[in-house]
């Protein structure tokens, strides 16, 4: 393992920000990005107090977030490639000595490098669009519920901005906990629904486990580097990075190597990786815009952000990145297999989110921070699109999400844009050629094959890509196309249905089920699915266009920006602390162009100011291949083919010859697989495993502790109480109420006293 890794890691790694000293500035308009969601939050709170019953909170939120997005775009256009720290106000300052590591400084300052800007671009951009979508989606809850939703929404954007823009780990932690809180609040939005409350608690508690790792990681960082500000950490880590580059891991203290592992545990919690992934599918109990924004596009990528931001530290341990890669790959596979067997379309999307997050971690672990960041961006667009399309369906069909009860909804009037959005999202997710998901996934998988020792992960991811294509198009072929059939759900939304059919749904439910006259609108006479309005359609259309065009981010450049080979996303990543040029990629590039030798960084098209451009230290490091070919070159064809196969299988099993909504050809094939589909449908019994291996032992332990507390601790306390009571009980009979008794007692006392005096005077 060690041999492999010293060969594998860090032959030419250097963190971007480590050698660049950041520019220090006073407060700037970047602070306004944080202020705008807070203004929105205050407005929504005021609306809630005055019981405003209009869409004002939604549109105010949209305006605030759009303003924040505009500021981020301005930040992007004005960036110079050097990290900028704009100081806000002093937040934490503890000093208990003069020495190194005896001063804890955490200011409310922003660290604006290109990684921050990349994340903020899609966080604020998507938040704006999804707030617009939610203005219509949540309209059934107009009133305080509506205000509550948008207040939490604003608070989420604020927390996420803190997480991404903070210049120290404590501010990141503040944002980290803030997004966790907002996630809790919004999953539990329907707080009268027990399952939603359960899911909210589960998400919160699962995240606490990861947060413990993160907190310990931050503590160790402070202990070892004497600071929690990024710029100081990167500076202080420089000697270790030199050691790691030379493969001398034994010169790096064990506790320093532990930091990235602990940080990774935090990231696994937030980004729903094994073993802490089980909360994310349950989080789908929240309203769909929340699922789209928080649990698909932005919050769950916070873990990826953490790893990317602290990439220099991850390079310090020979085990951290392989750990991240393997956990990511296994999560991707596991979640995809579960997703294949689910029937709730929103759950399928949730498992695909877990799976795609696994891809991102595998990408980070496989030395492709660019690929991971690119996949984060493309995934944010297409997964938000998919969720919002599912949400539109859920909204229109009174909460129906079962793909066995919906079919061919593209035939309905007014559902064209939803169907189109679903198609675009599915194509992206399954990696259909020339969609953005295709490019980002290729970049990831190619890097896995390129990096020696990571080929098994590459194969897992490739296989998972096929599964992804299958389960994605399973949804598409079942729900969007095929014969028309629908049954209303019976969820909360139906109660607020604008058209006033909500009340009828429950009554009609049973007899619609028997009705297989799909083209007859007779059964629809009782239940009209209501088509999405302008807000939902606008957002879906915008996201469809964005998802399709996001691949351009990998090729295009804006004018006036430094030109790095690759495009906007690689440029942003390569200027940041996540910058990492895989030595094998350069090796491959040289072999590819046939010049064989290495000529230094500029030959690769990397601008000289990017400090990653360090020559390959180990000229014998051999890039891996994909069955003998150059991975990046052939991966286009291979993963395209895999995606096609997945889609084709779904087409045959779920579209061809399907006449009812409830069954398809696939159902006939299921018995051949024995009990496996059932296991997958039950999520491989992971929840049950956790229940019996963690939950019940904890309950038993808690009861034992309770018993100890009751018997031993309380026993001692009670003993001290019992002694005076016993004495009192013994003496009490003397207080008989007999006057003579008291008098006799007094007389006896006097007699005793006299006797004592008598004895004493005898001497």
């Amino acid at each position: 393992m060690t041999n492999l890794l010293s060969n594998f890691c860090l032959a030419s790694a250097a963190p971007g920000a480590a050698t660049l000293s950041p520019i220090l500035l006073g407060p700037s308009e970047a602070q306004l990005i944080l202020a705008l969601p807070i203004i929105g939050l205050l407005f929504c709170t005021l609306c809630a107090i005055f019981r405003v019953k209009s869409k004002a909170p939604a549109f105010f939120t949209v305006a605030c977030l759009a303003g924040a997005f505009a500021l981020v775009v301005r930040l992007y256009l004005n960036k110079t490639g050097t990290p900028v720290i704009t100081s806000g106000f002093e937040w934490f300052f503890l000093e208990w000595g003069d020495g190194k590591g005896q001063r804890l400084v955490a200011n409310f300052s922003l660290y604006l490098d290109s990684l921050t800007i990349l994340w903020m671009l899609f966080v604020t951009g998507l938040a704006t669009l999804i707030a617009l979508y939610a203005s219509e989606y949540m309209a059934g809850d107009l009133g305080t519920g509506y205000c509550r939703f948008f207040a939490a929404f604003n608070l989420f954007v604020f927390s996420m901005s803190c997480l991404v823009m903070g210049d120290n780990l404590l501010l990141l932690f503040l944002g980290w906990e803030g997004v966790g809180l907002c996630s809790y609040l919004l999953i539990g939005y329907f707080y009268k629904k027990p399952s939603a409350v359960e899911a909210a608690k589960k998400a919160f508690i699962m995240n606490r486990i990861g947060d413990l790792g993160l907190l310990m990681g931050i503590g160790l960082t402070f202990v070892h580097f004497g600071s929690i500000e990024y710029r100081d950490i990167f500076h202080a880590a420089q000697p270790y990075i030199e050691a790691a580059k030379a493969g001398k891991y034994n010169e790096i203290p064990f506790l320093v190597q532990l930091i990235p592992v602990l940080l990774a545990i935090g990231a696994f919690g937030k980004s729903a990786q094994i073993p802490l992934y089980v909360w994310l599918p349950d989080a789908m109990e929240g309203p769909t815009p929340v699922s789209a924004l928080i649990h698909a596009a932005t919050m769950v990528t916070a873990g990826v952000y953490l790893v990317a931001r602290m990439y220099p530290l991850f390079l310090l341990s020979e085990y951290a990145l392989p750990l991240v890669a393997w956990v990511g790959a296994l999560t991707a596979l596991l979640a995809a297999t579960i997703g294949m067997a689910q029937f709730d379309i929103k759950r399928i999307m949730a498992y695909s989110t877990v799976s795609q997050l696994g891809y991102m971690f595998a990408g980070l672990g496989g030395l492709s921070s660019t690929g991971a960041a690119f996949h984060v961006v493309t995934h944010a667009f297409f997964k938000a699109l998919l969720f919002l399309a599912c949400g539109a369906i859920m909204h229109g069909f009174a909460g129906q999400l079962d793909l066995r009860k919906l079919s061919g909804i593209r035939r309905l009037k007014g559902w064209g844009i939803v169907s189109f959005g679903m198609l675009v999202g599915c194509l992206n997710l399954s990696g259909f050629p020339f969609t953005s998901g295709f490019f980002s996934k290729d970049m990831l998988i190619g890097s896995e094959f390129l990096t020696p020792g990571m080929a098994p992960i590459g194969w897992i991811l490739l296989f998972t890509a096929g599964l992804t294509a299958y389960y994605t198009f399973r949804v598409f072929f079942r729900v969007i196309v095929g014969p028309l059939h629908y049954e209303p759900g019976d969820e909360l939304h139906s109660a607020h249905d604008e058209h006033g059919h909500g009340g009828e749904n429950h009554n009609e439910h049973a007899h619609v089920q028997d009705d297989h006259q799909h083209h007859d609108h007779g059964h629809g006479g009782h239940f009209h699915p209501h088509a999405p309005g302008w807000a939902i359609n606008t957002v879906l259309l915008t996201l469809s266009v964005l998802s399709l065009s996001a691949s351009a981010l990998n090729f295009l450049h804006l004018p006036n920006q430094p030109h790095i080979e690759g495009g906007i996303v690689p440029e942003l990543v390569m200027e940041s602390s996540a910058a990492y040029e895989s030595p094998y990629a350069r090796h491959e590039a040289h072999e590819g162009t046939g010049d064989g030798g290495h000529e230094g960084p500029d030959a690769h098209g990397t601008p000289s100011y990017v400090p990653t451009a360090i020559a390959l230290d180990d000229p014998h490091a051999h890039a891996g291949t994909f069955l003998g070919w150059n991975p990046h070159a052939v991966m286009f064809y291979v993963s395209g083919a895999v995606g096609f196969i997945g889609i084709f299988v779904a087409f045959v099993l779920h579209y061809v010859g399907r006449t009812t909504a409830a069954t398809a050809k696939a159902d006939a094939l299921l018995p051949m697989l024995g009990p496996i589909p059932g296991w997958a449908q039950h999520k491989w019994y992971v929840d049950e495993f956790y229940k019996y291996s963690i939950y019940w032992p904890l309950i038993i332990l808690a009861n034992l502790c309770n018993l100890f507390d009751k018997l031993i601790i309380d026993g001692i306390v009670r003993l001290f109480g019992a002694i005076p009571r016993w004495i009192g009980n013994t003496i009490r009979p003397t207080q008989s109420g007999e006057l003579h008794g008291y008098a006799a007692g007094m007389a006896a006392g006097v007699a005793v006293l006299l006797f004592i005096v008598f004895i004493l005077t005898l001497r």
């Binding site: 008989s736 109420g737 007999e738 006057l739 003579h740 008098a743 007389a747």
Partner: protein
């Protein structure tokens, strides 16, 4: 000391028979009165009698004080006894009133009747 005391009595013009009365006599009387009072208090159940017995013990103490006061030729003890007598008068009035009230409640003067007042 005793001779001094009797001499003082003689000077004050007391009859000769008195001159043989010493402090011990007074203290003996005082002790006897106290004991009688105590015995009476412990043996009788009539509230009025018991109250009278306490008065007896009270006055026994007063007597001892007066005797000592005269013995030491110091007026403090005697002035103290004047206070005691005053207080005893007031206390007697109150105690008898209480006894009357208690009697009205139970139609009896038996102290045992009130034993449920235990703490």
């Amino acid at each position: 000391m005793t001779t001094e005391f009797t001499a003082t009595l003689a000077q004050a013009g007391y009859p000769a028979a008195f001159q043989s009365i010493t402090l011990a006599h007074y203290l003996f009387i005082s002790g006897a009165m106290f004991s009688l009072g105590l015995i009476g208090f412990l043996t009788r159940r009539n509230l009025i009698i018991m109250f009278l017995c306490t008065e007896l013990m009270f006055q026994a103490a007063g007597l001892a004080l007066v005797a000592f006061s005269r013995f030491h030729m110091n007026m403090t003890g005697q002035s103290f006894v004047i206070f005691i007598v005053t207080v005893a008068a007031a206390e007697a009035a109150m105690a008898l009133a209480l006894v009357v009230l208690l009697f009205r409640r139970r139609e009896s003067l038996d102290a045992e009747e009130w034993s449920e007042l235990k703490g």
